[in-house]
Structures are given as C-alpha cells and as structure tokens.
C-alpha cells in the first residue's frame, strides 16, 4: 500500500495534525474507502521518516474522532460503520479549517468584517453559480 | 574480548620478529663468510662465533648501560646460556617499552569505545595487560629460540654451556622486561599523546641515573641518586653472564634482583590501574 500522505515537518504545524487532516481528506474524497487498511504506525513512520509516536498520536486522534478503528494485531482501518458520518465530519473539518484560515488571513490584512463577507459572497456566487445547493454534501 | 588486544600485540610481535630474523640472517651470512675464508678448524670457527655474537650484541645493551655481554676473548671458552637469556631479556624489555603504552593509547581518543562495553574498567585494563605480558613472554621465547637456531645453524652448539645458576638467571630476565613494562605503564597511563616519547626517554633516564652512580658528588645527592636507582631496572639487569650484580657501589645479589624487578613490575602496573580508574574521557 503506497504512502498516500505527505507531511512537511519544517512548518510550525504539528505533524500529527497534518496527518489527521490528510487522512480525513482522503476519506472524504473516497481515496480511502470504508474498511480500507491504513499503513501500520511503523510503516508510515518509516515511509515519511517521522517519529513513530507522532503517527501513533495521529491514529489515536483519528480513532477518537470516529474516522478509523484499530484492532489489536490487525491494524487500523477506515471505519465501516458510520463511514459516511466520518466522511461528512472530515469534509466539514477540512472545509471549515480552510475557511477559518482564509478569514484569519483576511483579518490579518486589517479588512473589515463587511468587506470579508462581501468577498465570501462573491466566492459563493462563483462556485455555486446556477446549481444552487445541488453540490452540497454533508450537513 | 581479547581480539583487539591480541591484534595489537601481534602487530608489534611481527615487526619485532622480522627485525630479529633479519639480524639473525646477517649473523648467519657473516659467519658463513668467516667459515669460507678461514676454513674448518675449530678455533677459527669459535672466532667467527665471537665476531657474530659481538655483532649481535654490539648495538644493544653495551651501548645502553655500558656493561654489555662480555664474551671471553679466548676462542675456546664456552658460551654461557645465561648470556643468551640476558639478550632475550633485553629484547623483550625493548618490546615491553613499546607495548607498555597500551592504556595511554586507549586514553588517546578511544575511551569512548573502550569503556562502553559490558566489561569493568579494571577488567578491561587487566585483560589488555595480560595479553601484553603474554606477548612479552612470547618475544622472549622467540628470541631464545632464534639465537639457538642461529647457533645450531653455524654449528657452534658444542660451545653452549649450561651454567649452574641458569634457572635464577632465567627468572631474572623474565621479570626484567616486566619491570620495564610496569614502569612504562605506570608513567604513561594518564598521558595522551606523549606516551611514546615518555617510554623512549625512560631508557635514557634510566641510563643517566645509573651513570650518575659513578660520579663524584656530595653525599646527600649521592644518597638520592642511589635511592632512585633502587627503582631502576637497569641496576638489576646485569647483562654480564655472571650472577652477581655488583653494579658499582650498590651490591645486589641475584635473588634480590628478581624480587626488586618483580616489585617494580607490580607497583608500576598497580599505579597504571589506579590512574586508569581515575581517568575521564
């Protein structure tokens, strides 16, 4: 199983958070199907040359969030039951953190709240142009 | 656990053995010429032996401490085995001076590897010294055998004479190199780069100390020199084939010599171990 994740250890973002986000994204996009097996902690640590406990930490949090399940001796898998819930939650997480980052960025430029709202409105109109809410998944 | 120690002593041994064999070969060639030119009559052969022995011993002890092995000028006088043992003792002592820097070598950048093994420090040093001492005894035996080989090769075995005190002389010249080993170990155990120089100068120092005994000097100074000489192996290593060690003013018998040399060896090694335990990397 190829390592489909990449991390950048040299940013200020903790590696386990990067991993969590990537696994959630993969589940949301269907790259990782329900029931699919994840690389072992050791394998992923070796593949990415990162600390094994960092990988273990990411897996623990993913398990707590209901995205994956781990059975002793067999490894970690994308959850079968509630996979859609997990995917929805994952999508929501990814999207909201992206929006969050965008708003934070806008604010850092000193933009007013009304101005930011205007930008968002423009973006919504561009991407959701005619098909309204059809593309909407989750929530 | 002895592997590295063994390799080190083996390397020393090989160099020494090659040098000794080269000297032996020169002696053989030289005596061969002597035989050809003089003929087969025994006095002349004895003369050749004398020449050969003088050649062999020439650059060794006689220059170092001024005694040397005195071979009779009479061609027919027997060649004492004791002299041969004395020569072997001297060779072994030089060898011991060389390998006596073992702990110093470890201290010179290798403690990190030497001390991070499942072995106690003293155990490690004791092992190293045991291998060194085995090497010293081996070079002693090698030298004796090589000399006997040369003597047999030139057909002079009939002149070998077993003097009555040969056992005691053997004991003396077995502990003689060990005394040098102890001194060098004790002097160098806690120095880093200069161990070789200290080992080399220890011979020079010993020779000077011995020579000072003969100088006229105020009684106090002389007493000091005399006392210092009690730990001088050269004092006890009388290379004259005789047993009495009447070295200048200090009169020392063979048993005392053996005891003193042993004591020097033991004290030197103990001093080295004490320093070794106190070292820091």
């Amino acid at each position: 199983m190829p390592a489909i994740f990449t991390v950048d250890p040299h940013t200020g973002v903790p590696i386990y958070l990067q991993l969590i986000e990537q696994v959630k994204r993969s589940v949301a996009l269907g790259v990782l199907a329900p029931g699919e097996r994840l690389p072992t902690v050791k394998q992923l640590a070796t593949d990415l040359t990162i600390n094994p406990n960092t990988v273990a930490r990411a897996y623990r949090e993913l398990e707590r969030d209901g995205v994956i399940e781990t059975s002793v001796g067999r490894g970690s898998f994308v959850r079968q039951n509630g996979a859609s819930d997990a995917a929805a939650a994952a999508v929501n997480d990814v999207a909201s953190s992206a929006v969050d980052a965008a708003v934070r960025e806008a604010k850092s430029f000193g933009l007013k709240k009304s101005h930011v709202r205007e930008i968002f409105q423009q973006a919504l109109e561009r991407w959701y142009a005619s098909d309204g809410d059809v593309k909407e998944r989750g929530n | 656990m002895f592997y590295k120690e063994f390799l080190r002593v083996r390397n020393f041994f090989v160099v020494f053995a090659l040098v000794m064999m080269a000297i032996g070969l020169v002696v053989l060639l030289f005596s061969g010429h002597a035989k050809v030119s003089i003929g087969d009559d025994s006095p002349s052969t004895a003369q050749a032996e004398h020449a050969a022995t003088a050649d062999k011993f020439g650059p060794g002890p006689s220059q170092v401490h001024g005694t040397g092995i005195v071979i009779s000028n009479e061609p027919n006088e027997p060649f004492p085995i004791s002299a041969l043992l004395a020569f072997a003792g001297l060779v072994a002592a030089i060898f011991a001076t060389g390998i006596g820097c073992g702990l110093a070598c470890e201290n010179n950048g290798h403690l990190e590897i030497a001390w991070t093994r499942p072995a106690s420090r003293v155990g490690y040093a004791a092992r190293l010294m045991a291998v060194d001492i085995a090497g010293i005894l081996a070079i002693f035996a090698f030298t004796v055998l090589l000399c006997l080989g040369v003597i047999y090769a030139v057909g002079l075995q009939h002149y070998l004479a077993l003097d009555p005190k040969v056992g005691a002389v053997l004991a003396r010249f077995l502990v003689y190199p060990l005394a040098w080993y102890g001194i060098v170990c004790g002097l160098t155990a806690s120095v880093r780069g200069r161990a070789g120089a200290i080992a080399g100068f220890s011979w020079l120092g010993a020779a000077i100390l011995l020579a000072l005994l003969d100088l006229k000097m105020p009684p106090v100074l002389h007493a000091i020199v005399k006392t210092l000489n009690y730990v001088n192996p050269l004092l006890y290593g009388n290379f004259a084939s005789g047993d009495e060690a009447s070295r200048h003013i200090v009169q020392i018998g063979l048993p005392i010599s053996i005891a003193a040399l042993s004591a020097i060896a033991v004290v030197g090694i103990a001093a080295a171990l004490t320093q070794w335990r106190a070292l820091e990397a």
Binding site: G12, T49, S108 | R8, I113
Partner: protein
C-alpha cells in the same frame, strides 16, 4: 534491561559538570521515557557532549546522577546499549572488518547479518583501515557498530556529521526503525530539521543550562508568534513584558512581534487594544523555537 520498567529509560537528575572554573553542564534534569526518540539541541559548547559523557560514565558528574530504568550505570548495561561519540573513537590501525570482529567477540547480541546490511547501506569499504576512511565513512562505521548489536538504548552524539544527505536520511530511518521496535534513542544534532523530523521530544541546552524541553509537536502547538503592524512605530504596550506567556518581544519599526507560549489570548487582546492595522498569529517551526530559546535573533 533490568530495573524498574516504569522508571524512565534514562533519567538525568540535577546533573552538573564543572571543569575547573567553567561549568559545562549546569543542573540539568531530563527524563526520557522508553521507546522515545529524544533530540538534544544546542549551539557549540552548550554542554551536549559533556551531558552524554556523564550519562555514559565517561566523565564523573560534579553533582547529580544519571539512572537507567532507575538503576545506576553498570558495565553489563552496555550489552544492550550503544554510544556513538562525536568523534568516532575508532582505532586507526584496524580495518572496518576488524572493528566488527571485535564487536562480535564483545557483544553477545551482535548481529553479523545486520552489520553487513548496514555497511552496505552506507557503502562502507570494510577492508580499509579506519585511519584511511573519510570523516563521513568513519561516522558510518561508528553507526554500523552502534546499531549492529540491536541495542535497547542508543546514545548518538552528532550521528550524521560528515555524512551526505542520503546517508543522513538513512541515519534517521535507522533511529525511527529502532524506536518503532521499542528502543530508546537519544541524539544530538546541529541540524534542527533532523530533530524536527525524527524526535518525539527535544531538549535545548544553552551554556550548560536546560532552557526548553518537551514534546516537539506540543512545542509547535504552544509556541506562537503574535505579529502586529501599526500605522506608526510600534508602541510600547503596558503589561506585555510582564505577561507570563510572552517569552520574547521584538519591536522593529512598525512591526511588533510577541513570541508567546500557550493560547496567548491576553496578549492578542492587549495588542488589539493598541489599535494595530493588523494582527496575526504565526506558527513557529523548531528552528524558530530554538533561536528564541537560545536568545538569538
């Protein structure tokens, strides 16, 4: 290893080492749990090597102690513990093969096949005398020796010095592999990126003192920079210097930077009150954290 399994694999307690008037290590306490990769960072002369030497019993601490699973160092612990010094303490006159042979005869756990595999990994010519090897190849031989006994504890002082980038990566892989197998790995490095990648925990030494210690990921999550820009020169904000979460303040023209630990809510509020044109919170990578800790820049 014997001892108390619950006790830290390595526990350095109030370690101090003085050489004459200089204090090389000053009251350093670090506990390293079993199975962790622990990175030790510091500028030259910060006391990293001295700390290692004291831990390995090569230097006597002036004060304090080092314990392994609750026990004082004993020679037999080296059956499953490897130390690789900063300068590989190899014997110049011995070949690589002879060094391995010496290890085979010394360590019961020596794994010949593993040693060969590692020598190949580092493209090491075992027939060469150690004295003839390049600095990097000497490091490689040191690493082969250290890893060939499959140790439970590894203490590596600058393990990748002199190695090319590919072999440096191999060193990290070996450490990660060892830790994944349950071994405890402690290493020092000048390359912060290596520590950032491989280490779970990090300690930063500066002039003999421990200035920062913790889980790398937590440090990254906690240590932030609040950066504010102002219309005119950045003002002095009352109470900011005294705020416990502010580690360092930098004021340069219209720019104000507060290096904070924790959420820093109070800090952001205090800065906001001074009417900046913008405020943002920046992440810090380990290098930023290191530079702040040692007071540089």
């Amino acid at each position: 290893m014997a001892g108390h399994p619950e006790a830290p694999a390595i526990e350095i307690a109030a370690l101090t080492k003085r050489y004459g008037a200089t204090t090389a290590v000053d009251d350093v306490s670090i506990a390293i749990p079993e199975g962790t990769i622990f990175g030790l960072l510091g500028t030259n002369g910060a006391g990293k090597t001295t700390t290692f030497k004291c831990a390995m019993g090569l230097a006597r601490p002036s004060a304090g102690s080092v314990r392994f699973h609750g026990q004082a160092l004993q020679p037999k612990m080296f059956e499953s513990m490897s130390y690789m010094p900063e300068r590989p303490a190899l014997y110049d006159w011995m070949t690589g093969m002879q060094h391995l042979e010496a290890a085979r005869r010394t360590f019961a756990q020596y794994d010949r096949a593993r040693a060969r595999e590692l020598a190949d990994l580092f493209a090491l010519d075992l027939r060469k005398r150690a004295g003839k090897l390049s600095k990097g190849q000497q490091s490689a031989l040191g690493l082969v020796l250290a890893f060939s006994i499959r140790p439970q504890v590894l203490v590596l002082d600058e393990p990748s010095s002199g190695l090319d980038p590919l072999h440096q990566r191999h060193v990290l892989d070996l450490m990660i592999d060892a830790a994944a197998g349950g071994a405890t790995v402690v290493f020092s490095s000048h390359q912060i990126g290596q520590v950032e990648r491989a280490a779970e925990r990090v300690a930063i030494l500066h002039r003999g003192k421990l200035v920062l210690e913790g889980v790398v990921e937590d440090l990254k999550a906690q240590e932030k920079i609040v950066e504010a820009t102002f219309e005119t020169d950045a003002p002095t904000i009352a109470g900011l210097e005294a705020n416990a979460s502010v580690r360092h303040l930098m004021r340069q023209g219209r720019l104000l930077r507060a290096y904070i630990r924790g959420t820093g809510d109070g800090v952001v509020a205090a800065i906001q009150a001074a009417a900046p044109t913008s405020v943002r919170i920046l992440d810090q990578n380990l290098e930023d954290i290191f530079l702040v800790a040692v007071g540089g820049n």
